[in-house]
């Protein structure tokens, strides 16, 4: 990019025709070549890096805007998981008495709600992100992957705030620090990448087919029931357990609980989640890149 240098062009009143060569040192190769896309489109990492500030500002905008003109402001990041926890603790912990593998149900369910709230919000926000930013897509260029990614990255702040509340619960429930908590950062990374993979794909589908907008909230709800958040995997009959285990979120949610309660990790499930996540991420980014060129025409 820096190959193009303009030598103090700004200070000149106006270029004489023969001074133009001195003003520009045109690069030998074009900075940008615009062509119809070929069937294979690589992930243009150089371009993503060049536009990193656009990414940063879109994340910043999403965070700034989210709690503008609200009374409770950023407290919403806590209200949502906290009230879910109270409701679940009352209905499933007290009334139905669902097992929580020996841990106190309220905090046990909160640990499941944490990654789930992040994941479901990330999915909902990124799924609608391309449509919500159609004014940008039809007027300026930047790698479109930035849009759904920024929507997800902005959700990490809410996740961090809700997590801070969890740390407040820990002494209250008599839980200690343990080495297994070191697994938390990789788990957060994993759930972020899973959200990125699915969110990138849904956003692209949504740009083309508005059906996604209607299907998404309800699919997210179904996904919650397919994930051991309000119930432990251990109460699922063994013959059905594989269905739940196919869900890449299962290993992640169980992983969060193992990390915080110091339980043994199910490494097999985690490896499975990581493999699926990686595969989905690569595949959906590819799909997105294939569809990307037509966004401005169809959105």
């Amino acid at each position: 990019m820096e190959a193009v240098t303009r030598t103090e062009a700004d200070g000149l009143a106006g270029p004489e025709p023969d001074s133009e060569q001195a003003l520009y040192h045109l690069p030998e190769k074009p900075l940008v070549v615009i062509e119809p896309h070929s069937s294979w489109v690589a992930l243009n990492i150089r371009d993503l890096w060049l536009y990193r500030e656009t990414f940063y500002f879109l994340v910043w905008r999403d965070i700034k805007v989210r709690y503008k003109q609200t009374v409770f402001g950023v407290a919403w990041a806590i209200i949502q998981p906290l009230f879910l926890m109270l409701a679940f603790a009352f209905f499933f912990g007290q009334l139905v008495r669902v097992s929580s593998d020996g841990a106190p149900y309220p905090i046990w369910v909160y640990v499941g709600i944490l990654p789930w709230t992040f994941f479901s919000n990330a999915l909902a926000n990124s799924g609608n992100s391309l449509i919500g930013n159609s004014n940008l897509i039809t007027k300026v260029y930047f790698p479109r992957l930035i849009i759904p990614s920024a929507a997800i990255a902005a959700g990490l702040l809410d996740f961090a705030i809700a997590f801070a509340l969890l740390l407040g619960f820990i002494p209250f429930y008599g839980l200690g620090l343990s080495w297994s908590m070191l697994m938390l950062p990789p788990l957060v990374l994993l759930v972020t990448f899973l959200a990125l993979a699915v969110g990138i794909w849904t956003s692209a589908l949504n740009a083309r087919y508005r059906d996604v907008r209607h299907a998404l909230p309800f699919l997210i709800q179904l996904w919650m029931f397919a994930t051991p958040i309000i119930y432990p995997l251990s109460i699922v009959p063994p013959e059905y357990r594989w269905v739940i285990a196919l869900n890449p979120l299962t290993g992640i949610v169980e992983g969060f609980r193992s990390a915080l309660f110091g339980w043994p990790f199910n490494w097999g499930a985690l490896a499975f989640s990581a493999t699926i996540t990686l595969f989905l991420f690569v595949f959906f980014v590819y799909v997105f890149r294939r569809m990307e060129s037509s966004f401005a025409d169809v959105i």
Partner: protein, 262 residues
């Protein structure tokens, strides 16, 4: 001297489709339509050959031209002649169907005033957001910040959400940010007719500075006087092709002559 923009055999085809015409403004498709079209397409093609012809439109047809560094070029033509499509391809917003463009410099395009403005953010926040969206670096915006505010004449309202701005204040701020872009190639669609008479004069003055600073500028407008004043060369487009290109005065006179015969 080598060109800074090289356009070769550029064409763009849009699918308009008979069904799209029925839906009017709703241009997006639903999954069901896509599936049913996929299922029925082979039969339709069997029953009436050449159906594809009525479903597409060529917005650009085999365009070839060069732009030299520091040139200020106007692009004129009637509505639907392909001007905006050309700018959109050069700005990388949409892809060509065939052909190739080579750009030997950084491009900033200004197809609309206030792209990316968020109504809930303050004037100050929007300067940063809009600048970033248009391709400025954070340091660059910070450096030009005072200049932008002074140009827009909104210093008293910097910390007010732009949704409370009058429309005049809004476009002044938007134009001020855009006017402080510093690319090698600037692509401008009809966006200068903003604000009141005194601000328009200021805008024109600013554009004049920009064009004299050695930057390459592509400039679409229907305001012929502005084109004649700012651009040395003008391209006249018609039906997706270059109808005439040459010194601005000549091309503009020819264009006006087309509609006032005799």
């Amino acid at each position: 001297m080598r060109p800074i923009i090289k356009v070769e055999n550029l064409s763009k085809r849009y699918h308009i489709g008979t069904s799209a015409a029925h839906r009017g403004a709703l241009r997006y498709t639903t999954l069901r339509e896509s599936l049913s079209r996929m299922a029925s397409a082979p039969f339709k093609r069997l029953s009436r050959g050449g159906r594809a012809r009525e479903e597409t439109i060529w917005a650009l047809r085999d365009l070839t031209f060069d732009i030299m560094p520091s040139e200020v070029v106007g692009i004129i033509g009637a509505n639907g002649s392909g001007k905006s499509t050309l700018l959109k391809i050069l700005s990388r917003i949409t892809e060509p169907t065939t052909g190739r463009v080579e750009l030997y410099g950084r491009v900033a395009s200004l197809l609309e005033v206030g792209t990316g403005f968020h109504p809930d953010l303050t004037g100050k926040e929007n300067i940063y957001l809009n600048g970033a969206v248009l391709g400025m670096k954070r340091r660059e915006i910070a450096r030009k910040f005072d200049e932008i505010v002074a140009f827009a004449e909104i210093d008293k309202f910097l910390d007010t959400s732009v949704k409370y701005y009058s429309s005049g204040m809004y476009v002044r701020l938007a134009f001020a940010v855009a006017a402080h872009l510093d690319p090698d190639i600037l692509i401008v669609d009809e966006v200068l007719a903003v604000g009141d008479a005194s601000f328009q004069k200021k805008c024109l003055g600013k554009m004049d500075d920009v064009t004299k600073s050695g930057r390459t500028v592509l400039f679409v407008s229907h305001a012929m006087e502005m084109i004649a004043q700012l651009c040395e060369r003008t391209i006249l487009m018609k039906d997706g092709r270059i109808n005439k290109a040459g010194p601005s005065r000549e091309v503009i006179d020819y264009y006006i002559g087309l509609y006032n015969p005799g």
